[in-house]
Symmetry: C2
Subunit: 334 residues, 2 copies
DNA sequence: TAGTGTTATGGAACCGCTTCCATAGGATAT
DNA sequence: ATATCCTATGGAAGCGGTTCCATAACACTA
């Protein structure tokens, strides 16, 4: 039923080797034969079986992308970058969405096999030591995005610098009652929020602004939760004049809270976010932009290079951050 | 280097057939042998080569999802549904993002081969006749989402009904100057916006409200473009009192425009969208909800069933729509 | 003319699995 | 005891490619 390379060979009156050579653009085929074979291929509407090819070659021509379920725009944006970079390569993209640690472990284990995929892109999912070991042992090229480990290539931004940049911006505007809001900081293998917090603390210190414990808000990620956290703080006795949220989604939650409480932004409250997701532009949110799309592109190119060269050096690729000044930060009025 | 099934067989002192049987949970293996083999597999850290398996079985255990690049939340939401439904199946998800018709044609052609994937999920990308023919000829099971064709299974909502629902809601509130905004309607194979428009027109007619040509706005999709279109209309001599946008993204653009022009929503202008994307809830946008996530789930289950049963009947699955009343629609005040 | 290369080609062997067929051995029936 | 059936098992063949090796055909050199 399905037409194979042998059918083509018979029909074109050549050997299977020759057909294969034509398929793979080997120079060792005379022009005459090449044309003949190509004609036959077209006539029979032949398409090579990719799995046979993969088995024979020991190469899958597939790259796995593992990331948390696409619940936050930043994941999507990174994925888009990966996709963009993959589109004009020969590789297909196999997507694995993770919704809990057990699933992460399952897929990480499954993908720690050379025969599964040619490469691994792991986005916003810091692997634990055991998982790292498995990756290394398997020899599958892997690149981490938005997570780091000294033994695996990774693409990250300097989050401490980012935290500083945001905080210093607020300080320069004249704020000294600056709150910090993020998801939980004590997650063992994901340091970006924590690094931003470190940057925040350092900037306060550098400017001789005393740190206040009650200005540190952490909670489950998400816009709604950020709203609730911010509401509590803003209705307390000592409301801040500025809030630095460690993600735009959370910053937008803060804006929601301000709106709900009839607090004018930026006149009565400055808000700065982090990520520069798509929505931020429309919300006119001042934020720290980290190149999400580019992180995907960069990581993918890095991975493809690693696959091609078979080199196994683990290195870190730092992506630049920058301050995007929009309309949610201003000098405090009073 | 890599350990194969023969290594396991030799080590466990059984035949390769037996090992294969153990791997595939065949009942025709004695308990004693099964344990022995399982132990050996664990000892050798053996993992079967999926490509060899695929070649031998003539089955890829992969499903391709083809959709436009993830530039709009509705695509992402549908993809999430697919993912969710696929996670506890045996199938992996291969992602193809399309950014232009040439690419669509390229990937559609590539995927019109049994040996490439076991099934095809095509989201918001209506295939043309030639492409449909290729799909049918290849025999690859396919399901369309948010697009329809009589010869291929598809999962859609009744967009005419949706257009009616939205328009009737506005009419019931007392509006009669109702504008319609969408992307271009003359796209040959994608009828959802057009169907919504038809529903809009019918509702007007049913209510004896004369249709006004200048209340029909179409343009390139996207929030910013919607803003511009709405701005023009709202600053004209005869501004409408309500706008029905054929997508939430565009409805939010309309809200942007209103804000920019200092027009109060809903007091001076009612806005209703379509899709009920995540952001709509936060924006308090009244909208027609179509089950995006569910469309992915439903289509995937349909596909898996088709793959399993090998039946080739093309049928339509209609998903329910409903009106979500929030805070952007009200009776006109004057 | 024989010797040496070079180029184009055919086809066997191999990639690592599944499955079918043959068979051994044990249980049951007669 | 022999015939019959059933179960568990070994291993060859096959899935559809690629690649290596052998060889034929044809220069070119001395």
């Amino acid at each position: 039923m399905t037409v194979t390379i042998r059918d083509v060979a018979r029909e074109a009156q050549v050997g299977v080797g020759t057909v294969s050579r034509v398929l793979n653009d080997s120079p060792a085929v005379s022009n005459h034969t090449r044309q003949k074979v190509k004609r036959t291929i077209a006539n029979l509407d032949y398409a090579p079986n990719p799995n046979a090819r993969r088995l024979s070659l020991g190469k899958t021509w597939q790259v796995a992308v593992v990331l948390p379920n696409l619940t936050f725009p930043s994941y999507v944006e990174r994925l888009r970058g990966v996709q963009h970079a993959l589109v004009d390569s020969e590789y297909d993209l196999v997507l694995y969405g993770i919704s809990n640690p057990a699933q992460q472990d399952k897929y990480f284990a499954k993908l720690s096999t050379k025969s599964q995929v040619d490469g691994l892109l792991i986005i916003s999912l810091p692997p634990n030591e055991q998982q790292v070991d498995r990756f290394l042992e398997s020899g599958v090229p892997a690149v981490l995005v938005d997570a780091s480990h000294e033994k695996i290539c990774h693409v990250v931004v300097d989050d401490i610098a980012g935290g500083k940049l945001a905080t210093q911006h607020l300080i320069k505007l004249g704020h000294c009652k600056i709150a910090f809001l993020s998801d939980y900081l004590d997650t063992p293998f994901q340091h970006s929020a924590e690094d931003r917090y470190i940057g925040y603390r350092q900037s306060l210190e550098d400017a001789d602004i005393p740190y206040q414990e009650n200005y540190k808000l952490t909670g489950e990620r998400g816009r709604r939760n950020a709203l609730l956290l911010a509401k509590t703080l803003l209705t307390s006795d000592t409301p801040p004049t500025a809030i630095f949220a460690a993600s735009d989604t959370q910053a937008i939650g803060v804006l929601d809270a301000a709106k709900g409480l009839n607090i004018q932004v930026p006149d009565e409250l400055s808000v700065i976010g982090y990520d520069d997701i798509r929505d931020s532009e429309y919300m006119n949110l001042t934020t720290i932009s980290q190149p999400l799309f580019d992180s995907g592109v960069t990581a993918t190119n890095l991975l493809l290079k690693t696959i091609a060269s078979k080199q196994k050096e683990a290195f870190r690729h730092l992506l630049p951050i920058k301050l995007i000044e929009r309309k949610t930060t201003a000098s405090p009025k009073h």
